[in-house]
Every structure is written in C-alpha cells, then in structure tokens.
C-alpha cells in the first residue's frame, strides 16, 4: 500500500497523534493538524517541519462543536485537495464513578469519544470515496471490546466507534480506501497521568509505530501492542455468568 502523502490529523496534540505524525513527517509527508489550542498547534507545526514534513497547516477545532469540525475539514481540503490520509486520535477518559450518576458527564464522554469522530467521518467519507484511494486510521480502544464495570461508559463509546468503523471499512473498501481501527491498550500519556503504570503500559511511540506499520501494510484492525488481541480474546470469551461475578 502506498504511503499517504497528505494527512489530516484530528487531536494532533495527543501524544499518540504526535508520535505518528513524527513518523510521517520523517518520510516527507504533508500534514494538516487540528486541535483545541492554537499555541500547541503552532509548536507542533514547527516541530514537524524540523522533522522533515513537506508542508504543515493547522486549524483550531473543538470536538463538541460541529461547526468547527466542518470548518477544519473544509480548510484542510482547500489547502490539500489531494488529501489521502486521515488520523483521528482524540478522546477523553471520563471518571467512571462520576458517569454513573452524572448524566451530563456521561453524555459528554459519549459525544467526545463517539459522536464527534463519527461526524468527521461522515463529513469526509465522500472525499475519500471520490478519490478512490487513501487510508483512514481512527483510534478506538480495547475498552470497546467488552463493557466492564470499571469503564463501561468510555468502553461503550469506543465500542460504538469500532462498530461504525467496521461498517465504514466495508463501504469504503469498495473504493480502495482502507479504514484502520486502532485499538491501543494502556498507554503512558498525559491522558493517563493519574494511573499507576503497571507492566502493560507502553509509551505513545510504541502505539505510533504500530499505527505507522498498519498504514503501510494495509491492516484493518490493529491491536497495539499485539498481545492485547490475545488478552481481549480471553476477556471477550469469559462466560457472562462468571463475568458478572468478577472485577475487571
């Protein structure tokens, strides 16, 4: 599979997105970055230029503001009409306890982790369908593979995203566009700053390399690191009768 030459990145300031963008910058790709904070975007653009990106543009966007998403995509396509790559890498890890009682917190978690990326994908799918080539990589999570009491709101949103991507892959596959569902396990990023880092935690650069490889090899579902495929296969296959009695 050809490497994408012009890539749009949503959630560009996330550690995983930045790690991935670095790898494509090194190959001389052009990048269009979208995130909340303009200062961060400026710093990121300068960084990726130093690393070898051909051209870098950016737009400020807010995941909860549909208008800002549409503006960002339009601006990007104006700059890069030949856009052939998309990476969606933002998300929020909500406080599960709070989500169990606070409806607004729960709704916010679902909107940021599912509705918002689904809006981007719905709006941009036509471009890729017409272009008849390219690759879309979206970061979902192993948490979406089975609802667990410790984070089922986050898990449900990511599960919905995984299902959405599965359908989109089937649709766009017919136009030669690859859709990759990226399922990272525990990653040491600012998002997980409050966690005790056990053995299963890996740095964002490991995930970035996994995404980069998945894009190059045309993979459709990428568990990163790979061993999460096995861990989640086991978790998915625990009989419900036993599952409801254990803590996970």
């Amino acid at each position: 599979m050809a490497r994408p030459a012009k890539i749009l990145v949503f959630g560009a300031t996330s550690a995983i997105a930045f790690g991935t963008a670095k790898l494509f910058a090194r190959d001389g790709a052009s990048l269009y970055l979208c995130a909340r904070d303009e200062e961060d975007l400026k710093a990121l653009s300068a960084d990726l230029t130093v690393r070898g990106a051909k051209e870098v543009g950016y737009s400020v966007f807010n995941a909860l503001d549909k208008g800002s998403i549409i503006r960002a995509v339009d601006d990007c396509l104006k700059k890069f009409p030949e856009l052939d790559g998309l990476l969606i890498a933002y998300g929020t890890l909500p406080d599960q306890g709070l989500c169990e009682t606070d409806i607004e917190e729960m709704r916010r978690a679902v909107e940021i982790n599912f509705t918002s990326p689904a809006i981007i994908l719905t709006y941009i799918a036509g471009h890729f369908e017409k272009k008849k080539q390219g690759v879309i990589a979206v970061i979902s999570s192993v948490a979406g593979d089975r609802g667990r009491q410790s984070n089922y709101v986050y898990g449900a949103a990511k599960g919905a995203l995984t299902t959405f991507l599965s359908g989109l892959r089937q649709r766009l596959g017919k136009s030669g566009v690859n859709v990759i569902t990226v399922k990272p396990g525990f990653v040491d990023t600012p998002m997980t700053a409050g966690f005790k880092k056990g053995l299963l935690f890996v740095g964002p650069d490991v995930i970035a390399k996994g995404i980069y490889r998945a894009v190059k090899t045309g993979k459709s579902i990428a568990y990163v690191p790979w061993f999460w495929r096995i861990i989640m296969m086991i978790i998915r296959n625990i009989p419900e009768k036993i599952f409801i009695k254990i803590k996970l």
Partner: protein
C-alpha cells in the same frame, strides 16, 4: 516521591502550583547519584516537553524543548550531516539535563562543555515568571542555571549549536601506555590533531597505571548504501542482576588484564561508527545490572593543571592500596576553555572517573580519603555522579556556592542539594 508530568510547556507552572512540597525538574534520570532524586517531594518529568522549535542550517543552531533527548537529535540530524557539539558518554539524556549538569565528553579539549555550545534558553520560575537567559540577557541566571542541577527553575526550551560532520564514522586510534608519564605525553601531543580523546586505565596492575589512550576524528568515510546512517536501537539487554562473584577483586583484575592484553599492537587504528565510539554502554540496555543488586558508585573528580601529576599519582596509589577495586577507570585531560556555569564541573586540568561495585560503608570511607586528596589539590567532585560526598567537600569543590544559592528557586530542591547543605 511523587511524579508530575506536564503535557506541554504551558502546563509546567500550574503543575508546580498544584503541589505543596518541593519540586525537581527531571529529564531521563541518568545522573548516577541523588541529584536527580527528590525524596519527600516531587519530580517534574520533562518527557512531554519534546518539541523541536526550529533549525537553521546556516548557523547550525537548533532550538528545542528541554525534554528532547540527545538520542532523538542524533537520529534526526546525523543523516543530514550534523552532530552534537558536545556529547556525554550516553545519548539517553535530555537537553535540559545536559544544561543542568553542563555535561562534557571526549571532545572537551576542543569544544568545551555543553554550556559552551549554548546560545540561550527560557527559564520558568515557580512564581510564574519566565526569563530568556543568555550571556547578555539575565547573565546571572544563565550562569547559575548552566550546571545548576535543575535548582534555579525549569528550563522550557534551549537553543544551541550543532556541528557539521562528514559522516557518522570516527577514525580512531587506540594507543597503549605503560605509565602516567606516557599518558600525559600522548595527551599533550593529541590536543591539536584530535577532536576526541579519552583513556581507559588499568589501575590495579601496579604502580605504573598502564592503559589505553583513545583518540579520534570524524571520518570522511561514506558508504553509498548507508552513508550518514544514524544509530539504531540498543540490541543487547542485561536481563538480570549479575551474581556477586563477577565483581570480586580477581574478576576485576582478570577483566583489566584481558582488556589491556587483547590489544597486541602498541597502536591500533580503526574506523568505527559514532555509536560504539561515544556511547559504548548505550548498546546494552540495563547495563547497570552488571553491577549486581547493590549497584555501583562512580567517583569522578577534576584536578587543576598545577599538581595534576602528583594528585593522580597519589590517588592511584591509594586505589592500589585500597581493597575496593574499581571496575572501570576513565581518565581525560580537560581543555582550557572556561565553563559557563557557576557550578560547572570542568576546569583546566584532568578528570578521573572510577566505577566501583557498591560495597557500602567500607567504600564510602575509602572515597572520603580520595576526596581529601582532591581537596588538597584544589579539585572538585562531579555532582552528577555523586551519591555520598560530604557538605564540606561540596563547598570545597565550588567556590561560587554562595552566589549560586541566591539564584535557587525557593520551590525547587533535590535530595542531593539538601544532602550537601542546601535547602
């Protein structure tokens, strides 16, 4: 010890404000002693301050955040024909750490230490004030921060010079010497013709202190398929702590004997990649495990030119007499370029580093004896490597301590600084 890890430059100030106890900025934690620890306080990791700001191929000036590692810089810039002006013996240190310890390397006699390649940096104080520091702007804070062990504020970004290279290889010569007289001759004749020099010493072989003098220059050698190749990942890893017998006296003597005698010729010439030349230990992940569960201590001193031979002789005599054999001994002559920092370690003269398996109290009192020799000759101990020097030795080492302490940020501290008498 809690850990703060602000996600960007703008979040550093709020992170410090969010906690009550003292904070210490920390890069990759490669300092050997407690200068990168802050017991009962917080470490502020710069791991997310990892952005490049810009590079000017006209001047070689690179501007980047303080958490960028030398490893990352080399990977990106060696293929473009650039190298660090100054590099320590490991590439797994950050730019912030390189400044805070004013690190030096094999090129000291030609380039000085890291601070000498530094143009400017931005420092964030815990009260939220930010200062651009250079030799002209806030020069006091500049001099306090270079070699300042992270105590004067958090370095947010820095701008420093890279140097042009013809390729990733080093043309090197290993020359055997039989005593320190010969070492000093080699050192003197190598000052001008060689960018890099360092010596390994077998100080247990007897009073002579034989060794191997290594010197090298960047090579113009290019290979069409791999020209300007940067280094790859570390390939070997030490999977467990070594058993104690590996570090016993006889084993160390044997290792040194073999190392000296495996080179048959007086002079051995070779052309090697920069990675094994500058960073021999980086090739083995977790190499420190070779020292077993109790770990090791490195004792590194610098001694002024006048009396360097006498001091070196006395120290080596003490080492031969002592029971704690050093596993690895490194010797180098520093150049005359004055260092930038109030607490910078390098001075015109020599530096000697001894690596000891940690044997506890016995080793500590032995090292105190070595300290006294160093103090007698007006020398100093390297804080970046130290885990045990007494407060008196620290103040004997650095005459500018009073001046320095005026620049220490009231919210920042380290285990090291408190141990040697600071706040």
């Amino acid at each position: 010890m809690g850990m703060l890890a602000p996600g960007s430059v703008g979040k550093v100030g709020p992170a410090i404000e969010s906690v009550g106890s003292s904070v210490l900025p920390r890069g990759l934690g490669r300092s050997y002693g407690d200068s990168c620890l802050n017991e009962n306080g917080y470490l502020l990791s710069t791991k997310w301050l990892d952005k490049f700001y810009g590079f000017d191929p006209g001047t070689g000036l690179l501007k980047c955040e303080s958490g960028v590692s030398l490893d990352e810089i080399l990977k990106l810039f060696v293929p473009r024909g650039w190298f660090l002006s100054v590099t320590p013996g490991t590439k797994f240190v950050t730019v912030g750490g390189a400044i805070a310890n004013d690190v030096h390397g094999k090129s000291h006699h030609s380039t000085g230490s890291f601070g000498n390649s530094l143009k400017q940096f931005e420092l964030l104080r815990s009260d939220g004030e930010r200062f651009i520091c250079s030799r002209d702007l806030n020069p006091g804070l500049f001099r306090a921060t270079v070699g300042g062990l992270g105590l004067t504020g958090v370095i947010l970004w820095a701008e420093f010079a890279l140097r042009r290279i013809d390729g990733p290889y080093i043309e090197m010569e290993a020359v055997k010497f039989n005593d320190i007289e010969e070492f000093f001759q080699l050192s003197e004749e190598s000052v001008h013709g060689y960018e890099h020099t360092v010596s390994w010493v077998d100080c247990l072989s007897g009073p002579g202190a034989r060794g191997i003098f290594m010197r090298g220059n960047n090579s113009a050698r290019q290979e069409p398929d791999e020209s300007r190749r940067a280094h790859g990942p570390s390939r070997k890893t030490m999977p467990f702590d070594a058993p104690p017998f590996l570090l016993s006296g006889p084993s160390i003597r044997l290792f040194n004997f073999l190392h000296f005698n495996l080179q048959r010729k007086k002079v051995h010439r070779s052309c090697i990649h920069y990675d094994p030349f500058f960073y021999p230990l980086d090739g083995i992940l977790h190499w420190n495990r070779l020292y077993g569960k109790r770990g090791f201590l490195q004792w590194q001193c610098a001694i002024p030119k006048t009396g360097k031979k006498r001091a070196l002789t006395l120290i080596l005599q003490e080492v031969v007499r002592g029971e704690a054999g050093p596993f690895l001994t490194t010797l180098k002559e520093f150049g005359d370029k004055p260092a930038e920092g109030l607490l910078s370690f390098p001075i015109p003269g020599i530096t000697l580093a001894l690596d000891f398996p940690n044997t506890g109290e016995k080793l500590f009192s032995f090292l105190d004896r070595l300290d006294r020799i160093v103090a007698d000759f007006g020398g100093r101990i390297y804080p970046a490597k130290d885990a045990r020097m007494a407060p008196g030795m620290f103040s004997a080492s650095f005459s500018e301590i009073e001046n320095f302490s005026g620049y220490v940020d009231p919210r920042l501290s380290s285990s090291f600084y408190r141990r040697v008498g600071g706040k």
